[in-house]
């Protein structure tokens, strides 16, 4: 990314201030990488969901957000946005194999569980649209999310 003038991005990442300098055409994904916090990145086109973060409370693929648009925003990765009950259920159900998709979909599913705790399988599948998992076949992820929802509401 050298040879271009840089824009400065400052915001909050997992509760701490962060700072990055990236070209005007760079994404939030690039800015987080420049700040020393790379995320899994598959497509860089908003299609695989692996780079999903919580951006001001909304699950968002970091690769579709211009870095400059995230200046001042609160960014949370799975480190901070993950619901422990979901992580426990995913582990118990064997819903993580290579783990490449996991940080992104944990952000999206934690948001789903926080905003609508009583869920059914179609709602979980809808939330998984845009998250590609090549290993699990999704069933274990859906089962684990429903189990987490049941624990949250019991």
């Amino acid at each position: 990314m050298s040879g271009d003038d840089l824009v400065e991005v400052r915001g909050t990442l997992d509760g701490e201030p962060y700072h990055a300098e990236v070209p005007v055409w760079a994404s939030l994904l690039d800015a987080l990488e420049a700040a020393g916090r790379p995320l899994p990145a598959g497509c860089r086109g908003g299609q695989c969901g692996s780079c999903t973060v919580s951006l001001d409370g909304v699950p968002t693929p970091a690769c579709v957000v211009p870095a400059g648009a995230a200046a001042g925003a609160v960014v949370e990765t799975a480190r901070r946005a993950a619901l422990p009950v979901l992580v426990a259920e995913l582990a118990a159900a064997g819903a993580t194999q290579c783990g490449y998709c996991s940080p992104g979909l944990v952000v999206a599913l934690s948001h789903l569980l926080s905003t609508s705790p009583s869920l059914d399988a179609p709602a979980v599948r809808e939330a998984l649209t845009g998250h590609l998992c090549r290993c699990t076949g999704y069933e274990a992820i859906v089962t684990a999310t429903l189990a987490a929802a049941a624990r949250l509401t019991s």
Partner: protein
């Protein structure tokens, strides 16, 4: 080199006048992937995402005006076009996360633009403005490329339908490009219909289909006119478009034509 994120439409128009070659960005869901892939390397970016006065949804009688950065998901949640009208479309549009960022206005500058057929059936227009002139001008939603270099789209003007139906053909329900789509609406000014043209890939109004849309027994005539407007290249494509049109007609006349359009394989 600058990244500009104005807070008001007036300051965005001033920035556009000063930097007419800057890449305009709404939600960024189309331009950022293109920048990631190296297809766009703008010297300057004009990001409209921070417009405080850009996300308003203002109803006025049987019409609604949407600001330039109204997001697709927000418009659906706010029932901007009436309860459920956008639901059928949204089932097949992008992904939940992308819908939260993507703007309706930005969609019309893209090809293919799935919203164009819906907004054409809703008698929609793009509202354009420039800093140099005080007034606004209106363009058909399919002519976003006719904007002057110093203009921005500052909103959309649409009719709120009394009934609406949308049908789409794609290889899968979600995350698959639209092969063909038909939208039909009953508006205060009369019925309207639009179809995705097979040759052009853009939305085509179907004025010849309107009398058949008004007629409960006019499904076949409606389908024939819609097929003529879409000009599908093969018998299979013609049958598919006709089937979509008949479904739209049926929904409008069954009285359940509010957004519950199914996505057809």
């Amino acid at each position: 080199m600058a990244y500009l994120r104005p807070a008001t439409i007036a300051s965005a128009l001033a920035a556009r006048a000063e930097l007419p070659r800057a890449l305009v960005c709404g939600g960024g869901t189309a331009v950022q992937p293109a920048m990631n892939a190296g297809l766009l390397r703008p010297a300057d970016v004009l990001d409209l995402g921070g417009l405080r006065d850009g996300a308003a949804i203002d109803a006025c009688g049987d019409r609604v005006r949407l600001g330039p950065v109204v997001r697709v998901a927000a418009a659906a949640r706010a029932h901007a076009l009436g309860a459920g009208v956008l639901d059928g479309l949204l089932r097949g549009f992008a992904t939940p996360a992308v819908r939260e960022r993507a703007t309706l206005t930005g969609n019309l500058f893209q090809a293919p633009a799935d919203l164009a057929v819906v907004l054409t059936a809703l008698d929609g227009s793009l509202i354009a403005a420039a800093a140099r002139s005080r007034g606004e001008r209106r363009l058909p939603v399919t002519t976003a490329d006719a904007l002057e270099p110093d203009e921005l789209a500052i909103g959309l003007d649409l009719a709120v339908p009394a009934a609406f139906a949308y049908e789409r053909l794609a290889v899968r329900e979600v995350a698959a490009p639209t092969l063909a789509a038909v939208a039909a609406a009953l508006l205060a000014g009369g019925p309207r219909a639009a179809v995705t043209g097979y040759r052009t890939g853009t939305a085509v109004p179907c004025p010849g289909a309107v009398p058949h849309l008004a007629d409960p027994a006019g499904a076949d005539g409606f389908a024939a006119e819609v097929v003529a407007a879409a000009a599908p290249p093969t018998p299979y494509a013609r049958r598919s478009v006709a089937a979509l049109a008949r479904r739209c007609h049926r929904r409008i006349h069954r009285g359940d034509a509010r957004g519950d359009a199914d996505v057809r394989r």
